[in-house]
Every structure is written in C-alpha cells, then in structure tokens.
Symmetry: C3
C-alpha cells in the first residue's frame, strides 16, 4: 500500500512555526503519510491567490490525496469549516471560496466540520483541519466527518466576457514570480491581446521574441499570459493584478 499523501497550502509563511505545528499534528495522526508543501507563501489572507494556486495543482496529485488549504481570515467566526471529496481527491479548508476549484468540479461531496472542544479560536489549521486531514488520510469517509453542507458559498473564477464587437474582455488574475501577467482569457495562438496600451500577437513561447521584448502567449494552464522575455512584465509595463486585458480575433 502506498503511503497517503497530504499536501499543505497556506498563507502562514514558515518562519513563525505555525506550519511546523500543523506538520506535527499531521504526522502524529498519520505517521506514515507523505506530507508535501505546496506553498506557504500565499500573501496574508489572499483567498484569491490561494484559489488560483490550488486550481493549478489539485488534480495533478493522485486520487486519494488530501489537500489542506488554510487561508482563513474568518477563523473563529461563523464561517463553516469544510471537508470535500471531488474527482477522487479530498480537501479541507474554510468556506470562503478557497476550495472553489474542487467544489466546482464534478459531483463534489461537502460536509461542515465540527470545531472540537478546546480548539483555538485563531488556529483551525492546527486544531480542526489537520486532525481531519489525518483521519481522511487513514481512510475515513468524508460523510462520517461532519454534516452535509448544502449552502456552501462558492466564489467562482472571474470570467471573461465576449462583447458585441467580437473582442473578449478579461483581466490580470495574478502576477507570478517572474512578473508574468496571468489572465482569465483563453485563446489559441493567432489572435492579439491589448494590454497596457500595447497590442501583442499571441505567440507560442518566450523565445519567439527578442530579450527585453513583450510577448503574449498561452500559458501552461491554458490562459493567456503577457511576459517580457528575460524581464519582468509587471514592472516594465506597469500593469498589475486586476488590470483589463482585451483579446481581439486573429
């Protein structure tokens, strides 16, 4: 039998020891688990950034993987704590939209988790989500861990809109470490992208332009990106998250 896989996606950073506490709880509850860091560098309380990171990777892991997602500005409030089964993967996290990629896919099963007596009101990652993740890793079914939760708030991906003139209006969803602008536009090579006063043909890869030149391309998740070859597009173009991007027919 393969060891169960438990992943962690948080906005805790690592310096303060919060992630370390969660790992201790996970490995105490599931000593044979493989605990995998997805990231702890989500900007503090940035639910949207966490949702995007989760969207990229949650289905890349094998069925049975348990994803623990803790970006939780409402910890200790009335927001529900969820466990989800979707597409064969298991997820736990707060009901604030961070789990949307799994909630929107297939026929997700969702339960609301009880908060155990004595749990800290400020650290459900350690006292609610990690213990449940250990139990899921050990094979307990989602349905046994809480009550069905029919009213989950699901925050969806901001969608691009097709206009009457044939263009599609989207936005920059995130700026990655390289300064690449990742949008919510889907495209094939051949069209053109309007962003920050520039019109860029949609190319195949960075190396299709010279160093220092801007390029639009279809990124690795299928969405249009704007980059500067060997440079930082966000910095050079002065364009950031939320900026409008328009896709024109090819």
């Amino acid at each position: 039998v393969t060891a169960p896989i438990i992943t962690l996606l948080t906005d805790f950073g690592t310096a303060d020891g919060y992630v370390a506490e969660m790992k201790g709880v996970l490995l105490s509850g599931a000593p044979t688990a493989t605990v995998v860091d997805l990231t702890h560098e989500i900007p503090p309380q940035d639910v949207e950034a966490a949702r995007l990171a989760l969207a990229r990777c949650w289905r890349r892991f094998p069925p049975g993987t348990v994803h623990v997602v803790v970006v939780d500005p409402g910890v200790g409030s009335a927001r529900a704590a969820l466990a989800v089964e979707s597409a064969g993967r298991l997820l736990v996290g707060p009901d604030n939209g961070v789990l949307s990629p799994a909630l929107l896919a297939g026929d997700a099963t969702v339960v609301a988790l009880p908060v155990p007596p004595g749990a800290s009101a400020t650290f459900h990652g350690r006292d609610v989500f990690a213990p449940v993740a250990s139990r899921l890793a050990a094979g307990e079914p989602v349905a046994s861990l809480g009550a069905p939760w029919p009213t989950a708030i699901v925050r969806r991906t901001p969608e691009a809109h097709r206009l009457l003139d044939g263009t599609v209006q989207g936005q920059v969803l995130t700026v990655d470490r390289f300064g690449n602008l990742v949008t919510n536009l889907t495209a094939r090579t051949g069209g053109a992208v309007l962003v920050g006063g520039l019109r860029l043909a949609v190319r195949r890869t960075y190396a299709d332009v010279h160093e220092g030149e801007p390029v639009a391309l279809v990124g690795s998740s299928g969405f249009v990106e704007i980059a500067i070859r060997a440079g930082n597009a966000a910095y050079v173009l002065g364009v950031g998250r939320g900026a409008r991007v328009v896709l024109a027919p090819g």
Copy 2:
C-alpha cells in the same frame, strides 16, 4: 515500522544550497527517514526567534522524532554541540539557548557531541548535527553519542512580572507574518491589555472586532496577541519586538 522523522529548523534560507547539503547527508545516513522542513526562514543568527518556533512545535511531533536545530552564530568556537532527549523527542543543536524548550521540559538527557576530524569549522549543521541526527533516527541512544554535559547554558523565556498594583508587565516576543504581536503574557478573556497607548479588552478571535480595528486575544499557544483584523498590527500600531505590554485585571 514507521519511517523515522527528522525535522530541520535553520536560519539558512534555501537559496544557497546549505539546507540541500544537510538533506543529502541525512538521507545518505538514514535513507528511509521522512525529512520535514520546519523552517529555514529564521532571521540570520536570531537564536530567540528559533527558540520560539521550536517551542511551538517540538512536542506536536510523535515521540522518536529527531529535531535538528541549527541557528549557530558561534559555530567553530568553543560552544558545545548538543544532543538532547526530552519528553521522548530527540534534538541536536548548538549550546546557545536555541534548544531551551526541550532542555527546560521534563528530565532532559544532554550530551556534548564530538566534532569529527575534517569537519568544516563553519558548517556543523552538515558535518556534526546531520550525521548525529541520522544515527539517532536509526535508534542509537543519546548517551552513546557524546559525553554528559552538566553545564548547559539554558536561556529561558523572558518572563512577565506581576507588579504591586496588580498589573502584569510583559513584552512583545515576536511579530508574526500577519503583523500580529505575540507577547509573553498569559491571560483569560476578560482582562485588558495596554500596548502602544491603547487599552484593548481581551477577546476570543479576530472576527470579534470590525475590519481595521485592533484586538487583543489569547493566541494559539496560550499567550496574549495583539492584532488588527484584516490588517498588520505591527505596522499600523508602530509596535515591534521588545515593546512593553501591560495586562490589567478584568
């Protein structure tokens, strides 16, 4: 048999490859071990920050876990290299107070480790502590690894002081990634905290105040914290590590 767990807590960052070298040594010596990153983002040479991170998590891991703690400004000097058994966990690190949480708990066994011939004078993490951690993970007893060390310097938690007027004087021990001020005061909800010119009632969680408002609460380790809901208390209040905090009766 469950794979042995070895954790790493350092101030090395990861970019330079020092942590990678230690992982190579650990997995060469203990190929079945689960190597767990606690953090490598302790500020350079900040023994106190490392002590606090260790205090949070070392007992959360199962008995038998080996914690490797290397924040070691005195490397190569006469400071001792220690191996400790405490509360069923095993720890290695320099004798500079970083291991205090384990040294202060229960009936700790402490030995001083020899420095092997050929060890680098600047990287005992790789050449002294990692090899010993592998041997501890393989089941070698602490007592066999070095000579008893009766004179360990133990740096204790800065303690809060009760004054004649009934207040308790403490300080901010650390500022976490969210800008929360973590103190050395213990309290129950009901009292009030004086900090940076403010008087704050001790509440249960962040969501007990409006966004942008300051709140005092009992944090997840049992100590009083001061936070700004959806904000950064250190930045907004202009209060940092070492600042005085006073707890007044409820």
Copy 3:
C-alpha cells in the same frame, strides 16, 4: 527496498503553484518517491546561482537519487532537454549549463529528451522533466529515455588565475543569505585575501575575530569566503557578486 529520492531545484518560488504542479506529476508517476525540496528560491532565470547550489549538494545524496533542476530561460526554444547519469546520480534539466557539476564529473552519460506532444511550450518542468524523473525513479535507464547528446554545452566554473607575481586572482561567485562573499579561490589558512580595499588573513572560523570585524576563511565547500562576524559582509563592505578578490601567499 528504499523509496526512490527525487529532489527539486528551481527558480519558481512556491507562491504561484508551479512547484505544486510538478510535485503532483512526480507523485502521480512515482507514488512511493520521497520528494525533497532543495530550493525554489533561485533568483528568476539565474542559471549560475542554480549551478552553484547544485554543485554544493548533488553528490551528498545517495546513489540513485534523481535531481530535477529547472532554471530554464530558454524553455520552448531549440535548447535541448537533458537527462544525465553521473557518479551514480541521475539528473534532468535544460542544456544551459545548470547541470555542469554533474556533466563535468566522471564519465557522465547524457541524452536529449523528446518533448511529448501536447507539452506546454512554457513549462517543461511539469511536462518534460517531471515525467522523466518519475521514470528514472522507477528504474528506467537513462539511455532508454532519449538520444545520445554529444554536443552538450557545458558552462564551467569561472576559474581563478595565478599571476606572475604569485598572487591568484579570483572573484566573488555568490553572496549568501548571511551576506558572506563566496569566491572561487581555494586556499589554506595562512595566506591573505585582498578584497574591497582590505587585506585579511585567512582564519579558521567566524569566531576568530571580534563581532563586527571582517574575516576571511575557507568555507564549507573549500572556497575562500569573506564574512563579518555577526554582520553582513556584502552590505558593510559594499562588495557583491563579480567583485575581484586576490589571494596573496601566506
């Protein structure tokens, strides 16, 4: 049988989810593997920094370890994707010099990897290197994964030069997290180092000088370093990567 070890060394950071995607692919292909983070904090597209980090650690891991090295500014261009067997370790990464430590050692076997149909033109880490790493971890021989690649570009370590006057001229190769200046000079204690207008005797360790004083010593990889005890040499001395350093006879 011990679980196979797969390490990751990238410039992706972790916040964007790219590393998480790779881990999902690796664990889907090799569910029993131990996936080890070496670093993801290489500065964006800094092949030389990645080469240095790899040089430090690749042989510290046990034979059979698979190192996945993705710092890849030329992704999607004509640069080859390589798999290497060297000194019993296995490596995958782009043909841009990042794998030099392994290519220069012993009798390396090198093949060029095919790009599978449907692979993203901007993320070979996920679609080319991770799948091959899983297969190497499962025991497939390097020779079966691609065509022999006799023309690999190998970028060598910048070498120090001995001058007629007996001095050796080198440079600062990197500045580590502590601000230590790591050079390409090899030395034994006894000589002296000229850097940034200072002449420093080569000592054994940081503690051989007072706090705040500069010190030259032979670092843990055998190269001369310049440090400030309990300080940051790069900042205090105003010396950075590429700066000239001269070694004078003792």
